[in-house]
C-alpha cells in the first residue's frame, strides 16, 4: 500500500501535466517527427533526437520532454514498415519482425501484418507503462541483483535462440552464429585494445563494424537484389488480400501471447547493458516455443509478428529504468535523451525518482500516450503504405539503394561505410543463397561484444572471489537468478532443437549441385582459419581467448558440415542452393548483373561523391533497367535527389565525398 500512497498523487499530477493541450501538441509533433525519421531504415532515434536537441534549450520542461518522448517512443513502431514491407530491419528493435512479417507482405498480406504489429506495439507500450508505474519504485534492488554472471546468462539465453532459428540443419545454424560472433570481434578488443583482423593503421576496421551496416547488409541487400531480379511487385500477385482489420483481429486472438511478450520486453529492457538487442529474439523464440502448430513460422505466421512487436515497445519503457534511476543509458538514443533532459534542467539519477516522481511519471506515461498516437497513426497509414508492395519493385529499388547507402554512411561518415555495406551485403547474399541462417548470424553478431566482455569480466571477478574462499566464489556465480536462467536456457535449447526441424525461418530451399555450397563452406572455413591464427598472434590473453575459442568451435562445426557434405548425396539439405531452383533460379535477371547496379552506385560515389553519383545512377537505372522514357527518368531522378538533399539538410548531415571532391572545391551538397 505504501507504493500506492507514493504513486497515486504523483501519477495524478503527471496526468494533469501530460493532458494539457500544449503538451499534447508537442507530443504529437514529436510523434510526427519520429515517424518521418523512423520509417526510413537505419535512421533511428539518435538522428531524430539530434534533430530537435538544438530547440530543446529554453523550452518549458514538460513540453520539451513531451517532444523528445514522442520522438523516441514512435521509432520502434515506425521501423516496422521497413521490416514488414521490404524485409529490412528498420532498427535493432525489429529484427525478428522481418522473419514472418516480410513473407506476409510477399503473400499480399502487408496491411494485415502491419496492423497486427501496430496493435501489438500499442498494447505492449501501454502494458509496459502500467507495469513500470509501480515497478520503477522498487526496481533499484532488482536491477542491482543483475551482476556480471546474470548478464552473461541473459546473453547466453539470447544466443540459445539460435537453436530455434537454425533451420533444418542445426550444425549450419551453429556455424552461422559462430561466423556472426567472429565478425563481431573484428576491431579493437574492449578489454586491452588489441586489433583483431584489423590494424592500428586501418582506422575503419579498428573500430569494428556497426549494427546498422551489418543489419542492412545481411537482410536488406539480399532481399532488394532478389526482388529486383524478379521485376515484379513485392506482393507476388500485386494485390492486397487481407486488410488491416484482420490484423487487429489476429492480435486480439493472440492477446495472451502479446501479454507474455510485453512482460518479457519490460523485464529484459530493465537490465542495463543489454539494451534492446536481444529482446525481440527472445520474444520470437518464446512465441515459437509456446505455439502449437509451428509449420508456418518463417513463411508468414502472424504470431511471429505479434510476439516481437509486443515486446519491443514494452522494452522502450523498461529501458527507462536504468536510464532514469541510475543515469545509465540503455541505448544510444537513451543517451541522447539524457542529454536533452539535462538541457531542460533535469538530471537523470536516483534523485529523479525520490524528488521528482511526477516528472518520472510524466516521462513514463508520455511514452504510453505517444505509443497510442504513434500506433494509431501507423494503423491508419498502413493500408495506404502497404500499397507500396503492389508497385513494380524496379521503380522502388533505386530509391532503396539510395536510402540504405545514406543510412549506412551515417554510421561513421566514412567511405569505408559503403565498402563495408557492400561486402557484408555480398556475404548476406551468399548466406541467403545457401540457406545459412541469417537470423542466427545476426544474433551472433549482436551479442558478440557482450558475450566476450561479460564472460571475461565475470570470470575475472569470480577468480578473485574464489581466492578468498570457495563458498564466496560459488555464491557469486550460482545465484538464484543464474540458476533459473540456466534452467530456462537448457529447456529452450532442448525444445528448440527438437522443434527446429518443423520451422523454416526463411522458407523452403531446393538443392542442386554440390560444388557451389561446398565452395562457400570452404570460403567460410578459410576465413575462420585466418581469424583463428590472427587471434593466436595476439599477445594479451584477455583479447585473444574469446576469438580463438569461438573460431575454433566454429571450425569444428564447419568440419562436421564438410564431413556431411562429402558423404551425403547432392539432394541432402546440406546442399541447399536457391540458384538451383525456385524463384531465384527462374528470375528474369541474373544475380551478378543486378548486384552490379548497386556496385556501380558505390563505385561512382568513390569517384564523384554521393550526390553526383546518385543522380547519374538514378537516371541510367530508370532509363535502362526500368525502361522508362528519358523525361520520366529525369523526373524520378529529380524527385529522388531533392528528397535526399532535403533529408541531408534537415538532419544536418554531409554526403560521402569522392575523389573529385579531394581535387576540386565544390559547394554543399556535392561537396
Amino acid at each position: 500500500m505504501d507504493i500506492l500512497a507514493t504513486a497515486l498523487p504523483a501519477l495524478s499530477e503527471a496526468f494533469a501535466l501530460i493532458l494539457h493541450p500544449q503538451q499534447v501538441m508537442f507530443l504529437v509533433l514529436g510523434v510526427l517527427l519520429g515517424l518521418s525519421v523512423g520509417v526510413f531504415p537505419g535512421l533511428g532515434g539518435i538522428a531524430g533526437l539530434s534533430l530537435v536537441l538544438p530547440f530543446i534549450y529554453g523550452m518549458d520542461p514538460v513540453s520539451g520532454l513531451a517532444l523528445m518522448v514522442g520522438l523516441v517512443a514512435v521509432i520502434p513502431t515506425s521501423d516496422t514498415f521497413a521490416s514488414v514491407l521490404m524485409g529490412i530491419p528498420g532498427s535493432s528493435a525489429s529484427q525478428a519482425t522481418v522473419l514472418d512479417g516480410f513473407p506476409m507482405a510477399r503473400k499480399g498480406e502487408a496491411a494485415r501484418a502491419l496492423a497486427a504489429a501496430f496493435a501489438s506495439s500499442l498494447f505492449g507500450g501501454l502494458l509496459g507503462a502500467f507495469i513500470l508505474t509501480f515497478f520503477i519504485l522498487i526496481a533499484r534492488p532488482l536491477v542491482l541483483a543483475f551482476g556480471l554472471p546474470e548478464m552473461l546468462m541473459i546473453t547466453i539465453l539470447g544466443l540459445s535462440m539460435v537453436a530455434v532459428l537454425a533451420g533444418s540443419l542445426p550444425l549450419k545454424g551453429l556455424a552461422s552464429a559462430g561466423l556472426g560472433l567472429m565478425i563481431g570481434t573484428i576491431g579493437a578488443a574492449d578489454a586491452g585494445g588489441s586489433p583483431r583482423m584489423s590494424d592500428y593503421d586501418w582506422d575503419y576496421l579498428y573500430d569494428g563494424l556497426k549494427l546498422v551496416i551489418v543489419g542492412l547488409g545481411i537482410f536488406a541487400i539480399p532481399e532488394i537484389v532478389s526482388l529486383l531480379r524478379q521485376d515484379r511487385s513485392i506482393s507476388r500477385d500485386a494485390s492486397l488480400g487481407a486488410g488491416w482489420f484482420d490484423g487487429i483481429r489476429d492480435w486480439w486472438r493472440n492477446r495472451f501471447l502479446s501479454i507474455r511478450c510485453a512482460v518479457i520486453g519490460v523485464l529484459v529492457g530493465v537490465i542495463p547493458g543489454l539494451g534492446g538487442s536481444v529482446v525481440d529474439w527472445i520474444a520470437y523464440g518464446h512465441t515459437v516455443q509456446t505455439s502449437k502448430e509451428k509449420e508456418k513460422f518463417g513463411s508468414g505466421d502472424v504470431r511471429g509478428v505479434i510476439g516481437p512487436e509486443s515486446s519491443n515497445n514494452a522494452k522502450e519503457g523498461g529501458g527507462l529504468v536504468p536510464t532514469l534511476i541510475f543515469g545509465i543509458p540503455g541505448s544510444g538514443s537513451m543517451a541522447v535523451f539524457i542529454g536533452g533532459m539535462a538541457l531542460l534542467g533535469y538530471e537523470a539519477g536516483p534523485q529523479l525518482i525520490t524528488n521528482d516522481l511526477e516528472i518520472t511519471y510524466t516521462i513514463v506515461w508520455s511514452l504510453a500516450l505517444a505509443n497510442v498516437v504513434g500506433a494509431g497513426l501507423c494503423i491508419a497509414l498502413s493500408g495506404g503504405i502497404a500499397r507500396l508492395t503492389t508497385i513494380r519493385f524496379t521503380l522502388l529499388a533505386p530509391f532503396l539503394f539510395m536510402l540504405i547507402a545514406f543510412a549506412a554512411f551515417q554510421s561513421r561518415q566514412d567511405l569505408g561505410d559503403l565498402i563495408a555495406l557492400f561486402s557484408i551485403g555480398l556475404l548476406g547474399i551468399f548466406l541467403r543463397r545457401f540457406n545459412w541462417s541469417r537470423p542466427a548470424f545476426l544474433i551472433g553478431f549482436v551479442l558478440s561484444t557482450q558475450a566476450e566482455n561479460y564472460s571475461y569480466q565475470a570470470f575475472q571477478v569470480a577468480n578473485f572471489r574464489f581466492q578468498r574462499s570457495l563458498e564466496e566464489g560459488l555464491g557469486y556465480i550460482f545465484t538464484p537468478i543464474v540458476l533459473v536462467l540456466i534452467v530456462i536456457t537448457v529447456v529452450s535449447v532442448y525444445f528448440g532443437i527438437r522443434q527446429a526441424k518443423q520451422i523454416r525461418p526463411e522458407g523452403e530451399v531446393t538443392t542442386g549441385t554440390k560444388l557451389a555450397p561446398l565452395l562457400f563452406l570452404l570460403a567460410v572455413t578459410g576465413y575462420l582459419l585466418v581469424s583463428f591464427f590472427d587471434a593466436m598472434m595476439i599477445d594479451q590473453t584477455t583479447d585473444m581467448i574469446f576469438p580463438a575459442t569461438i573460431s575454433f568451435l566454429t571450425l569444428l562445426a564447419c568440419a562436421g558440415l564438410l564431413i556431411r557434405m562429402v558423404r551425403a548425396p547432392a539432394d541432402d539439405v546440406a546442399f541447399a542452393d536457391r540458384e538451383a531452383g525456385g524463384e531465384d533460379a527462374t528470375a528474369p535477371h541474373g544475380l551478378w548483373g543486378t548486384l552490379a547496379w548497386f556496385a556501380t552506385l558505390l563505385g561512382l560515389t568513390i569517384l564523384l561523391g554521393f550526390i553526383l553519383a546518385l543522380g547519374l545512377f538514378l537516371l541510367v537505372f530508370f532509363r535502362v533497367r526500368a525502361g522508362m522514357s528519358w523525361a520520366k527518368s529525369a523526373m524520378f531522378t529529380g524527385a529522388g535527389l531533392s528528397f535526399m538533399i532535403a533529408m541531408g539538410w534537415v538532419l544536418n548531415r554531409d554526403f560521402p565525398p569522392g575523389l573529385l571532391q579531394s581535387v576540386v572545391e565544390l559547394p554543399w551538397p556535392i561537396r
Binding site: 539518435i46 533526437l49 539530434s50 536537441l53 538544438p54 534549450y57 529554453g58 518549458d60 514538460v62 542491482l144 541483483a145 543483475f146 551482476g147 556480471l148 578488443a189 574492449d190 578489454a191 586491452g192 585494445g193 592500428y200 593503421d201 582506422d203 579498428y206 573500430d207 542495463p272 547493458g273 541510475f326 543515469g327 545509465i328 543509458p329 544510444g332 543517451a335 541522447v336 542529454g339 539535462a342 538541457l343 538530471e347 539519477g349 536516483p350 534523485q351 561513421r412 561518415q413 566514412d414 566482455n453 571475461y456 569480466q457 575475472q460 571477478v461 578473485f464 581466492q467 578468498r468 599477445d539 594479451q540 584477455t542 544536418n652
Partner: protein, 366 residues
C-alpha cells in the same frame, strides 16, 4: 502559471546578460560578423558521451554570445578513440572561422603516449576555451571506515576496479593506487564510468573513481545513504602549478596528502612526475575548444571574447554548477597556459608510463 514565470525569468536574465556584456566588453580588436552563418562544432566522440554533454551545454550559449548570433551546431565524428576526428581537424578543417573542435582527455592521452594513430599536433591549433574537472576515488563503507582509521590497514585487501582501459584517463587512478601500494586488479572493458559505478553498487568492484560532475550526481547520494565513503581526490592546480585541495571537495584529502600520510614523506621520483604530468594532462584542462591551424587573429579574438561573454553571464555559475561542476573555465592567456601544461609532458614521464603499461598490464602501443 509556473511555466510562464520561468520563461520570463530566463528572458530577463538573458537581457541582463546581454546588457552587461555590451557595457563591459570594450571592442579591443576587430571581430568577425557571423550573422546568418552556421558554426560547426566538431566533437570526436559519439552523441552519448561526456563531451557531447559539454558541447551541448555550451553550444546555445556560444550562439547567443557570438557577434551576429550564428547557428552553432554540434557535429559528432566518433572513431578510433577520438583520434579520427582529431586527425580530420588537423588535415581537413578549414580556417574559415566557422569550424571549431572540442578535444578531451581521451584525445590528449594518445597524443602524449605516442599512439601510432595520432596524426595531429596540438601546437598547430589555437585554443579558445579550456574546461577543467577533478576526480574522486571512493570505497565501500567498511573499507572506508578502516581507511579513515589507518590508511595502511587496507594494504592487504584485494581490490577490484571496473576500468575502461589502462591507456585512458583510468591511467591516473590506477597509477595512484599502485603508488600507495594497494592491490588493485582492474577488470577492463567496461563501457563508461557509469558502468564502473554500477559494478561498485552491486558489490562486484570495491574501489572506484568518478570525475567530479558524475561524482556529485551519482556518488554523493550513495555517500549520504552510507553506501560509499570518499577516499581521496586527485586535487586541483593552483596558480603556481602546485597540487592543492579540490575546491569542489574541500573536505576530502588529495592523493598527495594520503601518500604523505601513508609513506611518511611527500611523493617524489619518476613515478610521481609521471603521475602529475598525466593528471595535469587529463583533468585541469580536460576539455578544450580549438580553432584550426591558420586561423586569423580576428577569428581567435572573436571566439575568445564570445566564450568570455558566456563565462561572464550572471547566471553562469548557476546553470553550469550542475552540469560542469565548479571548475575553472579558462579563456585567453589562461587557456593557452592550460593547454601548454597539458601537452608538455617530459620524455622521462612518458617513457615511464609506457614502460609501466607494458610491464603491469601487457599493453603496448604500436
Amino acid at each position: 502559471m509556473p511555466t510562464f514565470t520561468k520563461i520570463t525569468r530566463r528572458a530577463s536574465i538573458g537581457l541582463l546578460a546581454g546588457a552587461a556584456a555590451f557595457a563591459f566588453s570594450a571592442p579591443a580588436m576587430a571581430e568577425m560578423d557571423l550573422s546568418g552563418e552556421t558554426v560547426e562544432w566538431v566533437i570526436p566522440f559519439s552523441e552519448s558521451g561526456g563531451s557531447a554533454k559539454w558541447a551541448n551545454f555550451y553550444a546555445p550559449l556560444l550562439s547567443e554570445a557570438l557577434p551576429g548570433n550564428p547557428n552553432v551546431v554540434v557535429k559528432f565524428m566518433p572513431g578510433a578513440g577520438s583520434t579520427k576526428g582529431a586527425n580530420w581537424f588537423q588535415k581537413s578543417a578549414k580556417a574559415d572561422g566557422l569550424t571549431i573542435f572540442g578535444s578531451s582527455g581521451s584525445t590528449q592521452f594518445p597524443y602524449l603516449l605516442g599512439d601510432p594513430r595520432v596524426r595531429y599536433e596540438y601546437k598547430d591549433w589555437n585554443v579558445v576555451l579550456a574546461s577543467g574537472t577533478g576526480g574522486v576515488a571512493y570505497l565501500p563503507p567498511d573499507l572506508g571506515a578502516k581507511f579513515k582509521e589507518d590508511p595502511s590497514s587496507i594494504l592487504d585487501v584485494n581490490f577490484i576496479y571496473g576500468s575502461q582501459g589502462a591507456t585512458r584517463l583510468d591511467l591516473v587512478p590506477l597509477l595512484a593506487w599502485e603508488m600507495l601500494g594497494l592491490n588493485v586488479e582492474p577488470v577492463f572493458g567496461i563501457k563508461g564510468r557509469g558502468d564502473g559505478r554500477l559494478m561498485f553498487e552491486r558489490g562486484e568492484a570495491n574501489i572506484d573513481y568518478q570525475t567530479s560532475s558524475s561524482y556529485l550526481k551519482g556518488v554523493t547520494p550513495l555517500v549520504d545513504d552510507g553506501k560509499a565513503v570518499p577516499m581521496m581526490t586527485w586535487g586541483a592546480l593552483d596558480a603556481d602549478g602546485n597540487i592543492v585541495r579540490d575546491p569542489t571537495f574541500p573536505d576530502i584529502p588529495t592523493f598527495k596528502e594520503v601518500y604523505t600520510q601513508m609513506k611518511g614523506e611527500a611523493p617524489s621520483g619518476p613515478e610521481w612526475d609521471a603521475w602529475k604530468a598525466f593528471f595535469i594532462a587529463g583533468f585541469p584542462a580536460q576539455k578544450m575548444v580549438f580553432l584550426p591551424n591558420g586561423a586569423t587573429e580576428e577569428m581567435i579574438t572573436t571566439y575568445s571574447n564570445a566564450f568570455n561573454k558566456v563565462l561572464e553571464r550572471p547566471d553562469f555559475a548557476e546553470i553550469s554548477a550542475a552540469r560542469l561542476g565548479k571548475y575553472p573555465q579558462m579563456t585567453g592567456d589562461e587557456a593557452v597556459a592550460a593547454l601548454d601544461q597539458a601537452i608538455s609532458v617530459d620524455d622521462s614521464a612518458k617513457s615511464f608510463v609506457v614502460g609501466w603499461l607494458k610491464d603491469r598490464y601487457g599493453v603496448t602501443l604500436k
